[in-house]
Symmetry: C2
Subunit: 228 residues, 2 copies
Amino acid sequence: MNSFQRRLVIATQRDRHAALRKRLINAAERTIAANGLAGLRARDLAGEAACAVGTIYNVFEHLDELILCVGLRTLAMLDTALGAVRLARPYGSMEDAAEDLVRLALAYLEFAAKHTVRWRALFEHRMSEARPLPQWFVDQQHALFAQVERPLVTLLPELEGDARRTLARTLFSAVHGIVALGLEEKLVSLPLPDLRSQLAATVRAITTGRDQLRSIDSADRQLDVPRC
Amino acid sequence: MNSFQRRLVIATQRDRHAALRKRLINAAERTIAANGLAGLRARDLAGEAACAVGTIYNVFEHLDELILCVGLRTLAMLDTALGAVRLARPYGSMEDAAEDLVRLALAYLEFAAKHTVRWRALFEHRMSEARPLPQWFVDQQHALFAQVERPLVTLLPELEGDARRTLARTLFSAVHGIVALGLEEKLVSLPLPDLRSQLAATVRAITTGRDQLRSIDSADRQLDVPRC
């Protein structure tokens, strides 16, 4: 085999590898979107992607990596959905920025209500054996929080980088909690229109009381309530 | 057998039945507190409670009922923990009521941080086959939301029963979201002192901006953002 032939063989292997990865991600995505993580079996995925079960581990380090690849697609879909409702023009006022936060929150609710199963899988999945999250996944999470950061630049201009990033994550988490328990049939269940108005009102209350978010790292860091 | 003997037999059966239920709930509680729902196997529980696997279904309708019995204990522990940090005296001011909400939120965080595994199990569990939740479990949830309702009576006195109950659930959900994603290693992770100050500041922002929570059922019920 000359060097040209050798390069051709390597290129073909790489293509096959990439094609198999894609087929497996597609298969896992269909399963997760339909039945969540509980329905995921390596054997079924191998069957759908027309490969041997063991071959999965030639193209993915572990099943967690495959699940994260699907999670990455869900995060990207969410990022697109949130980007689509953002005010396109620059904020002319505080109200614009506050209203942008409300629109983001409502868009998050719509996304979760429409893609409930795959959205829930994103939060249910935990890495086995305390593996760290890969950087490409962390980066996609940050893109999401960055959407929340933009209105905060206007609402709380004196908050610098890290403090603003942390606050964006906190506000995302508060909205997530209202959406997650609101859509959950078990603990709290609300009709969608009620959930929308509750969510919008809570976000408006937070932006109205935003002065409380300026000096965020004071006495509350210590525990001053009796331990339970 | 005379009627006295018959009553004695029935009473003994009832005692045994109750004792076995208790042993099984204790066994399930130990497992859930240590390893969460994933570690729960009917066979192991039967072994711990010294009964046959099939006997579990003589004293519980289904495994869901057993899991809910453990969940009831978790909810009751949480109720006690929240009750312990409430201001004992009546609120002398709006600030008192607002600060009570902050204390409740911080106590919720401490509870979740201390009892993470069993607290998480409470939210992860879903009823099989879309069974409805039993009323005794729903009642214990309501007791929890009632803790949040008390300060709301002072903060938003014009809100009547149903609207106040719904708002209490929403605020609980927002706090839950901040706590759940904050303690989650995967999506968002914050050191506990930072998490405390973020949580307290967010609750203060909500109480400061509480005027937004008065007229909660207006235009937001309709969807005015583009569907994703």
